[in-house]
């Protein structure tokens, strides 16, 4: 029990000291995960909306894939990205392995299905409601997509949140493709794993607390945005 209490105390000191190494780790975590979520949104919103709206051969299979890939094991994704980016892999010449870019790619692959699958569900529901009006206005595919994504913006922020939660908390993929290199590719989750195995429980716990606080802040932010949006635009 003492160990835990000591760890909490030391974690507090660490947090209060604004240690530069510590901040670098937190910063890299945010950079990698936010970039991955941004890329996943750019792909996942249109992809999910397209699967919701358009009838094409294999549509059911795509929807099934998206739902299945929501639960992709991070280590498997890490391994595949590793194989592709390694020296002998197809994209080995780019020299991306063990860089933050490789970590962004791996997390984007993890997050895209989550955002696409949730987007599909949200847009499909809204399309059921809007379809006759938009078809009556003779809206083309792009206008239809734009209208639905815009009007679903608050529901979609929940999907983004789910994606970010997945990315920021994930260890396996970034460990494999990043390598947990100090001052280069070390992020909060890989550092926690390392420090725990080294017995530096305080550092590990400090990072864990920061991770939780970030998650809390992001969720609170989205909740506030939604509440404001609900008042302004009647999203319900």
């Amino acid at each position: 029990m003492n160990t835990i209490l000591n760890a909490f105390a030391e974690a507090g000191v660490l947090l209060a000291s604004f240690d530069s190494d510590f901040l670098a780790i937190v910063g890299l975590s945010l950079r990698v995960s936010l970039s991955a979520v941004l890329i996943a949104c750019l792909i996942g919103f249109p992809l999910g909306a397209a699967v919701a709206l358009f009838r094409f051969p294999g549509r059911g299979a795509v929807a099934l894939m998206l739902n299945t890939f929501m639960g992709l094991p991070p280590v498997v994704v890490g391994l595949i990205v590793f194989l592709i980016l390694s020296r002998s892999g197809p994209l080995g010449v780019l020299g991306l392995l063990f860089t933050p870019t490789a970590m962004i790619i791996a997390q984007a692959i993890l997050v895209t299905p989550i955002i696409a699958a949730l987007t599909r569900q949200i847009i499909e529901d809204l399309w059921g409601e809007y379809s006759e009006h938009l078809r009556s206005l003779n809206a083309g595919p792009l206008d239809t997509l734009g209208t639905l994504i815009y009007d679903a913006r608050f529901s979609l922020s929940t999907a983004v949140l789910a994606g970010f939660g997945r990315a920021i908390a994930e260890v396996g993929a970034v460990m494999i493709v990043g390598g947990n290199i100090d001052h280069a590719t070390r992020v909060m989750t890989t550092a926690i794993a390392l420090e725990t195995s080294k017995g530096n429980l305080a550092t590990a716990l400090g990072l864990g607390i920061v991770l939780l606080v970030i998650a809390l802040a992001v969720n609170a932010g989205v909740q506030i945005i939604n509440a404001m949006g609900a008042r302004k635009d009647a999203i319900a």
Binding site: H133, R135, S136, D143, T147, K232, D233, A234, A236
Partner: protein, 242 residues
């Protein structure tokens, strides 16, 4: 919107619509001209909404043809039509933005949209509610907004599917006044209703449907006073139709 450029008359030829193996509309033949207000009358399940949706192009006929014969039919006829539904579809935006959205889809330039939207809101008596989220408005206000949103696109033809079925008498009156305004401005009105009172107030001609068949197409006065068919007489007197 004057007659020479209109997409009307509308000609419906041997129209059949089936869904799930059931024939819901049987062999409808109908020609509608641009001057008269047409009310499609009939009990629930007669196929009124289906006929409107088929004419508007929201549904594809199983067989038969829907042809816009007017000189104004150049590009896609649906761009010269608008439809107002029983339950208005309100975008998750302000009343004003609901209208500018429709204008955008009609390729009206960005600079023109706000002013035209304001004019439409004024017409519907909604100027004070311009910034109100559309989905927080009352049922009557929403239906008036739907009419303003249809009006702003300057359609040749306005389809209305039981637009007042879920409104109270005052809201119904406001909506009917707006419909009269469309008619006065030269827009062809094609409205489905099962409300005889409304048919009396608004119809120039009646298309009477029952069980997916067109039974009568007559001037309103003639149909409402002396229907030709047994089903028509039963509907007018409020008897159940079997």
């Amino acid at each position: 919107m004057s007659a020479p450029q209109s997409i009307l008359p509308l000609e419906v030829r041997q129209l059949v619509y089936e869904a799930g193996g059931t024939r819901l509309l049987h062999d409808i033949n109908l020609t509608l001209n641009h001057t008269q207000r047409t009310v499609i009358l009939g009990p629930n399940g007669a196929g009124k909404s289906l006929l409107l949706r088929l004419c508007h192009g929201l549904l594809k006929p199983t067989s038969g043809e829907i042809v816009w014969r007017g000189a104004g039919t150049r590009d896609q006829p649906i761009r010269h039509q608008a439809m107002v539904f029983q339950r208005p579809v309100m975008l998750r935006r302000s009343a004003h933005a609901n209208i500018t959205h429709a204008l955008k889809l009609r390729d009206v330039s960005r600079s023109e949209r706000p002013e035209r939207a304001n004019a439409a809101l004024a017409l519907a008596g909604l100027s004070d509610l311009a910034d109100r989220p559309a989905r927080l408005m009352s049922g009557g206000e929403q239906q008036r907004l739907a009419l303003a949103r249809a009006w702003v696109t300057e359609p040749d033809v306005l389809f209305l599917d039981e637009p007042t079925a879920s409104l109270d008498p005052a809201a119904t009156r406001a909506v009917e006044t707006l419909i009269e305004g469309f008619h006065a401005a030269g827009t062809k009105i094609i409205m489905a209703t099962h409300d005889l009172g409304q048919a009396r107030r608004l119809a120039d001609e009646i298309v009477f449907l029952n069980k997916g068949r067109l039974l009568e197409h007559a001037p309103a006065k003639q149909f409402l006073e002396r229907p030709d068919t047994r089903e028509g007489r039963a509907f007018i007197t409020g008897d159940l139709l079997w």
